[in-house]
């Protein structure tokens, strides 16, 4: 018989390395037509970091996303970066890029101040212009300013910066300290159907509500959450590396190490919870790893709700679930008086 159950799990997760410095450096070069090239040492590993970092640069410079080109991942040409790890790219590399853009902009403001006859501090960059704050009609196209800076005044607008999340080392005795600059939070709720004759668990749907600070690109945030959930499902129900008695893996292949396919996935409802972190670039934090953290306990709690058994070791394979169901039935039978 198939029984349905629901389960929830919430979590917290930090951005960046535990205490240790993990800086990123960036360079922003304005071209003579107002478009920009950004140099970053990070590596695009599929999560869409180059898109997000480009959007941060564009926002900082007041130009369009398509006006920014990113050059990445070359130790000769791009500045150092601690890498696409620990969900740190949007937050740490993003801040470095934002600061580098501010650095480049300071040259533009100096030049534009002369052209417009105002103080540099009265200016902002928006809509591909440098304009007086609050007075869009008093503006010059950013391309003109870039050209003037480089060609007329001999001051190419290049900005560079680095950023490292501020932390405080953990006390060796008590472990007290500030190991991370910021954290993100999330909840996932799963509905499952358990076949109490085979132990098979099907995940029917998952509602995921995630905090990532400001979502720089909501489409990519959703993609990370959906992808993380698929890894979480594998972790909860299917994946396991097995060893023989001599310490050799028994199943080092994709036939016998089961990962989720398109058929294993439920429908997923994603919500990005409204939040803003002032320490992050335009309020952003991160989402790459948090996406998979609460999935397994949400599913395991749903299994318990469905068939009343608590599986305490992952993965909750059909064999384990069935054995637990049978053991429970056995216990229940014992309780009936003779």
């Amino acid at each position: 018989m198939k029984r349905r159950g629901r389960g929830m799990a919430c979590m917290w997760y930090p951005i960046g390395f535990t205490v240790a410095a993990n800086p990123s450096a960036a360079v922003v070069k304005m071209n003579e037509d107002g478009t920009a090239v950004v140099l970053t040492g990070t590596v695009e590993t599929g999560q869409g970091s180059l898109a997000v970092l480009g959007q941060i640069a564009a926002e900082a410079l007041g130009i369009a996303t398509d006006d920014v080109h990113l050059v990445s991942a070359d130790t000769d040409a791009t500045p150092m970066d601690c890498g696409a790890i620990a969900s740190r790219t949007t937050y740490v590399t993003g801040n470095a890029i934002r600061l580098a853009a501010e650095d480049a902009k300071s040259v533009l403001f100096e030049v534009a101040a002369q052209v417009l006859g105002v103080a540099a501090s009265q200016l902002e960059a928006r809509d591909r212009t440098i304009q007086v704050k609050g007075f869009p009609r008093c503006s010059v196209p950013i391309g003109e300013i870039c050209k003037r800076a480089q060609i007329t005044l001999g001051r190419p607008p290049i900005g560079s910066a680095s950023w490292n999340p501020p932390t405080v080392a953990l006390d060796p005795e008590s472990g007290q300290g500030k190991p991370f600059s910021t954290y993100v939070y999330a909840t996932q709720i799963a509905e499952v159907e358990v076949d109490d004759e085979t132990g098979e668990v099907e995940v029917l749907r998952i509602a995921a509500a995630h905090d990532c600070g400001t979502p720089i690109n909501p489409m990519l945030v959703e993609g990370q959450i959906e992808g993380g959930i698929s890894m979480g499902i594998g972790f909860a129900l299917q994946e396991e590396i097995l060893f023989d008695g001599a310490g050799r893996q028994i199943n080092p292949n994709l036939t016998n190490y089961i990962v989720p396919t398109a058929l294993d996935m439920p429908e997923i409802d994603v919500d990005i919870v409204q939040n803003y972190d002032p320490t992050g670039p335009f309020g952003a934090k991160g989402v790459g790893e948090p996406s998979l953290v609460p999935t397994a306990p949400a599913i395991l709690n749903a299994i318990r709700d469905a068939v009343g058994v608590r599986i305490t070791s992952l993965p909750a394979t059909a064999e384990k679930v069935l054995a637990a169901i049978k053991a429970k039935r056995g216990d229940e039978r014992k309780q009936i008086p003779a």
């Binding site: 292949n253 396919t261 997923i268």
Partner: protein, 160 residues
């Protein structure tokens, strides 16, 4: 060495290869068509999916000799000189691909489905993609994109 002649993406190509060469190795190493990927080389992951005579096939499981005189479609042949295929357009608009490594295989499996079944249900789409592993996306936007493409193809055909 054996001689093979295959029609790849509409062009006749010839090669002389050791008999144990797979179709995947033929495409990648001899014809420079690197869109089909080596994910596992034993038919478990689907990253090497190509379409042979209208059927989606793991190119690593087919020998070059078995593809002799047959028509093969790889990812490089899906777009035309002027237009993206509706699948490629939908995938791009949905941001469906992340690292992109499974992408060519997924697009070809999806194309094979839509060529046979122009109005697939979400379950039928998932089923068609079941042999293509993806670790990045959770398949969610991939399924949405295939749905979008199916709708776009049907509406194009209505207007023709």
């Amino acid at each position: 060495m054996i001689d093979v002649t295959i029609i790849v993406n509409g062009e006749t190509r010839r090669a002389s290869v050791p008999p144990e060469t797979t179709l995947l190795a033929l495409l990648r190493d001899h014809f420079g068509l690197t869109g089909a990927k080596v994910g596992c080389d034993v038919g478990d992951c689907g990253a090497c999916t190509v379409i042979v005579d209208d059927r989606p096939v793991n190119a690593c499981l087919m020998l070059a000799g078995q593809a002799d005189r047959r028509r093969v479609l790889t990812i490089e042949g899906v777009a035309t000189k002027d237009k993206l295929h509706p699948l490629q357009k939908a995938f791009e608009e949905r941001g469906a691909l992340q690292c992109g490594f499974c992408g060519p295989g997924i697009i070809l499996s999806a194309k094979a489905l839509l060529d046979q079944n122009p109005e697939p249900s979400r379950h039928e789409i998932r089923d068609a993609l079941a042999g293509n592993l993806c670790r990045c996306t959770g398949y969610a936007k991939l399924v949405d994109a295939v749905s979008d493409a199916a709708r776009a193809i049907r509406s194009e055909q209505l207007h023709d």
